[in-house]
Symmetry: C3
Subunit: 135 residues, 3 copies
């Protein structure tokens, strides 16, 4: 994998959490492809497509307090028709005048493809550390 | 933005927390321009200029226990006369024989410019997640 | 230091925690040189060599719950015969149906050398924030 690809993917993940955490729902949705999928055991059904993803991000930002998606340990490897990216994602919530609370630690596995000249997430799979199927 | 710029900025942030957390106050101050500014609601007034920034870092290191500035989610974008960098900065303190304590989660927005052949912080603005004006 | 070296080292650390946290013990051991050394005050003696390192990683993965090595603040500098890498490493454990627990925050200092066409860790030194000798 070339250096430029790796740096661009790092920038994608550098941006993504800021988008959802600041309520920039459309920008967050556009880090996925138009048919992008978000699969997480924290939610009852997968979220699929730009409109549904933007709605998901809006709902997230409407929660009480400030929630941050702290992303670390990004690892990028080649995949058949794109890239696979793995990372740890900590969900940290702070209520006014309170210390931050680490709600959960999750692992994300993303399938990335090229779309409109940028790397986008085609499918995200989230695993939670607090469940049995967590590795 | 070119790849080399992004990698150099990542290195700047890789180094900066180690400097303040290890009491290397002068090195920390020199990650700012000579007229650099540090604005944070955690302190009564902005800290401006190399001497004041070094004094600030010395005072920080003199606190009890070990304090770490855990920096994640770095995102770099072009600005009019330099770069803008955003990141999450968690302040974690550990007292002897105790577990670490996440004191607060903050968001930093830095204005970066070239100075003496390196990227330096011209102005840092810190926002705390535990206040109302936190986005 | 050239950009490609920095990106490769970032990838090494991006991969390493996933290896030990997923029980991929041999892959974790191979992020060290064949004579690689792991020195940590959390364990009674240094761990030296591929076989011992792989055994160490296996034992780690056999612990109850899910444990994640959250790595941040990576800083890479040239050394006499290779590179020095420093980072913060948080050990976070999650038991089933429980919130994550930040067990300890450590600082790692690694000596990296080229081996078999890749950057490997020749010697890792871990310091814990909860001890007196912690800076």
């Amino acid at each position: 994998m070339d250096v430029e690809t790796l740096v661009l993917v790092h920038q994608l993940y550098g941006a993504q959490s800021h988008y959802i955490d600041e309520g920039r729902a459309t920008e967050w949705a556009h880090t996925f492809t138009p048919d992008g999928e978000f699969h997480s055991p924290s939610y009852p059904a997968p979220v699929v497509g730009t409109a549904a993803l933007a709605k998901f991000a809006e709902d997230f930002a409407a929660q009480p307090g400030v929630t941050r998606h702290v992303l670390t340990n990004l690892h990028v490897t080649p995949a058949d028709d794109g890239l696979t990216a793995r990372a740890y994602l900590q969900i940290v919530r702070t209520l006014p005048d309170s210390p931050p609370e680490l709600l959960r630690l999750t692992t994300i596995t993303d399938h990335l493809v090229r779309h409109a000249g940028t790397w986008r997430i085609r499918r995200r799979t989230v695993r939670r550390d607090d469940t049995k199927e967590n590795r």
